[in-house]
Amino acid sequence: MKRKSLQQSISSITYVPHHLILFHPWQSPPGKPKIVRCHSPEKEMLACWWKPGSDGGLLTSYTLLYSKEGEGQTYECPDYTSAGPSSCYFNKKHINSWTTYIITVKAINEMGSSISEPHYVEAASIGKPEKKKSNKVVMLNFISFSPGQPPGKPELIKCRSPEKETFSCWWKPVSDGGLPTNYTLFYNNEGEESFYECPDYTTAGPNSCYFDKKHTSLWTIYNITIKATNEMGSNISEPHYVDVTYIVQPNPPVNLSLALNKHTDGKLYLLMNWSSPPLADVRSGWLTLEYELRLKPEEGEEWETIFVGQRTKYKVFSLIPGEKYIAQVRCKSDHGEWSKWSSESYIHLPKEFRLKDMMVWVFVAVLSSVICLIMIWMMGLKGINMVACILPPVPGPKIKGLDAHLLEAGKNEELLSALGCQGFPPTSDCEDLLVEFLEIDDSEDQQLMPNHEKGHPNKNLKSGNKETDSDSGRGSCDSPSLLLEKCKESRIPPAEFQTPDFSETQVKAAGKSSQETQNRDPELKLPDFNSDGVKSSTWPGTQLASSQIPKGSYHNIVEVCKVAFSAMNVNVSAIRMGNEEKHPSKYSKNIETICEGEMTQRRKGEICL
């Protein structure tokens, strides 16, 4: 069999005898031709060119068919040659203005045929082609459209029944190829042969079909298909099998009300009440609904979900007073799906005045005030001490004291210069000093306090005797220290201090050792010492005499020291105590200790007499 090439067969229809047709595996019907363009080369002329598809391995012939829009009749291309290969040429005989022409090309071979997509050509005014006056060229008098498309395949989205009595289906609109598309829904009942069309396209919204009670049967399978149609063609969806029994999804419950009530034990609780959705027939038992609640404080993030069962009310305890709560409810059919959540309901809980809390605070307040009072009272008792603790005592004037180390070292001059004293009597003056001391005591004793003699002489004697029992010299030398010790021990206030007693003991003690010296001493300068009006002095003896002692002050000590030492210088020789020679260092120490002791005692605020 001869096989002509594709190019050769373009402008002619070649007749191929059928008996010569042999089956070859690689042969197939022709591919779809495509109209490339339509163009007006001259005025009132139109030419269209197409591109052939695959020829399927066989001789293929092409036919161009055109028709006017609105008219049924199709015409064949009048001229296949003038415009060249794969073309069709129209002149004004065939083309009228103001009409849309639909042009298609058909490819035919032994195996079959194929038609191109339709090409629209609108014949506008057929005018003269204008010469090129500018870059703008008005060439085409014929405006051609791109070909329209049949619609895509529709798809069913879902079907739902809110109350197990009616149901609705929704589908997804498809690409319509730029043309208006019509949708039709067909269904077939299980057990029935015929297909029916959707009874209601509007009630459920756009792209939907609503089946009312009459058209709804349970426990049967519906075979549903959707057909999309436009001018260019139609398309049918895949079949969708629906049993209304299993697509139940109710509407949300309604009338959710929140109210605060008081329980029998006085506790507040939230009572939640709602009703089943209006369409659902729960009363007859046709539909059985179960409910679920959710609650959260307004500011909260997480919902608390509570499954309630078939009741339509619920009590909520353990809510936070003062908070604002949001609540929602939803329901589901016994074997179906959950509805959407209902609209939000709000409630604002009042802040609770709890008697318990107040009692606790009152108790705490009372307890703390009691503790405070106790503390203040205790402070009051201790009085000065606490005040002293809180407010530090005013420091007394600082006086350079006797430097113990210097005294020990025997550097008496340095010591006294630190004190401000002038000179320092040699240790051999110890005795004189003591004698002076004794003399003073005598005079004072007689002048001032005769009454006290009787008071405690025995006592002091005894104590004094203990120390002075041994040697005479020792007793007299030791007397200042003796007095000092006693002073420290007894801590007798000035008024009570037995000045005459001490003096007596001193006198007596000294008297045991050497009476001679006693007799001589009153004549010495020491009365001057007395006349100084010493309010307080380093010599306990002199203090004994003075009733002004309590008002001691530190500068007096220094004065006394000075006077004492100067007296010592003068009258040192008058005092001859045997033991003193043996204990010169001791004597100097005694003076030192007296001076120091007074000062330290003063520092302590105690008056040693």
Binding site: R283, G285, H335
Partner: protein, 198 residues
């Protein structure tokens, strides 16, 4: 259930009997539904079984109400009769389902024990319904309805595909009928016990 002694005999109240029956029917349908879904997912994907499972249930010979209006119009005696008929018609298939489902290749345990459970609970439900019928209609319901099941051979087919479809069909019908029974009983309970005011 609480026994209240009335009329010289200790009787459970009718309300309690219905409560129990409804609980059982609800439970049986839940199991059937789960079992069907599991089987469908595992064995029926892409086989187009549903297109063939049309009008294929053995109980379809029993005319049962198909919507609310029909169900509310039917007399409770007739409805009870229908319920008993459906339940009785499933006795046999359920027995065979238990034995045959084990022969399915790699049948998951969940499907196996569900089949056993459904068969057992169905028997209990039948007993309970007989009590209710005896209470309401001591003389019996009269015309006893029954649909014979002849699907056993198809469950034993050598061709795997055909056999699987037979199971699919049976489970599909079981799911549907158990839902019917559950719905009818809930309807009857509200009507008879709560005077249509549930």
């Amino acid at each position: 259930l609480i026994c209240s002694c009335q009329r010289r005999a200790c009787q459970v109240s009718l309300g309690d009997l219905f409560d129990r029956a409804v609980k059982l029917s609800h439970y049986i349908h839940s199991l059937s539904s789960e079992m069907f879904n599991e089987f469908d997912e595992r064995y029926a994907q892409g086989r187009g079984f549903i297109t063939k499972a049309i009008n294929s249930c053995h109980t379809s010979s029993l005319t049962t109400p198909e919507d609310k209006e029909q169900a509310q119009q039917i007399h409770h005696e007739d409805l009870l009769n229908l319920v008993m008929g459906v339940l009785n018609s499933w006795n046999d298939p359920l027995l065979h389902l238990v034995s045959e489902v084990q022969t399915i290749k790699e049948a998951p345990d969940t499907i196996l024990w569900k089949a056993v459970e459904i068969e057992e609970q169905n028997k209990r439900l039948l007993e309970g319904m007989e009590k209710i019928v005896g209470r309401l209609h001591p003389g019996g319901l009269g015309n006893e309805l029954y649909s014979r099941w002849s699907g056993l051979p198809s469950l034993q087919l050598p061709d795997e595909d055909s056999r699987l479809f037979a199971f699919y069909n049976l489970l599909h019908c079981l799911r549907r009928d158990s839902h019917k029974i559950d719905n009818y009983l809930k309807l009857l309970k509200c009507r008879l016990i709560h005077d249509s005011n549930c």
